[in-house]
Symmetry: C2
Subunit: 153 residues, 2 copies
């Protein structure tokens, strides 16, 4: 990755906060002319550094007020079984994140749900029926204290 100077960092931080800033607004924020700003922007966007820019919706407002973490234990750990499991997990929209933990057979999921009934359904009708699942343990969250996508630069 290319070296980032202070201006690049200012640009990235501004766009982390508001990804729909126009180039003109951005240029004003970082004290650059629009043309110079746009050139840097294009280089940054073309680089490997940026994963994308996304609209983020209010979880409550779209009907998914609940967030839970789910620990999954698989009974086998061979490659083929893990791949099958992971392919399936990626298709479940309510699963927002999935990490492989130590031991090659434990996964951690973050799921969103509409209400307790929905979580129960997700738990018993979807997750437990995934291939090779031995154990499903959910931890509900009571409140979101902090949630950010701002990486420190």
């Amino acid at each position: 990755m290319p070296a980032l100077d202070d201006t690049d960092i200012k640009i990235l931080n501004a766009l982390q906060q508001d990804g729909r800033l126009s180039n003109a607004e951005l240029a004003a924020k970082v004290n650059l002319s629009p043309s110079a700003c746009l050139r840097r922007l294009h280089l940054l966007m073309a680089g490997e550094l940026v994963a994308g820019t996304h609209l983020v919706l209010d979880q409550k407002m779209v009907g998914y007020p609940g967030t839970a973490y789910v620990f999954l234990t698989l009974d086998g750990q061979d490659r083929k079984q893990l791949d099958a499991f992971e392919a399936r997990i990626k298709l479940i929209p309510q699963v927002q994140e999935c990490y492989l933990l130590a031991g090659q057979a434990d996964y951690l999921l973050r799921v969103v749900y509409k209400d307790s009934e929905d979580l129960e359904r997700l738990h018993s009708e979807v997750l437990t029926r995934l291939p090779g699942i031995r154990r499903v343990q959910s931890t509900m969250t009571l409140r979101t204290v902090k949630r950010t996508a701002m990486l420190p630069l």
Copy 2:
């Protein structure tokens, strides 16, 4: 919140995938004239539904390849102590998420780190020194299987 029809959902889904789509591109995607599309877009953006749009960077590329989950146990559970803790947590950039769990004294954090040394520092020099902390237990992730911000609509 206002009722969403199919076109609204198409717009939101398109912007969840690519938040920098221009109105013209968006209009083409959802089979609408630019003006009609823009009108809907403004209404949606002004509503409570949208939390914002953000540039998301590649964690590895910006030097934070590691993700860990940290369970925190506090020794007191009075309101004042929790507020003090939460205010401090919000100021730590490496803490990407923080949830209150059941029991009013357990928190779950998702943190990013540069290397094991960095995680160790975060663990022993930052988190354990937060006010009212009794126990800090970290769980490292080996691999990110899935990570999305797409909420099902």
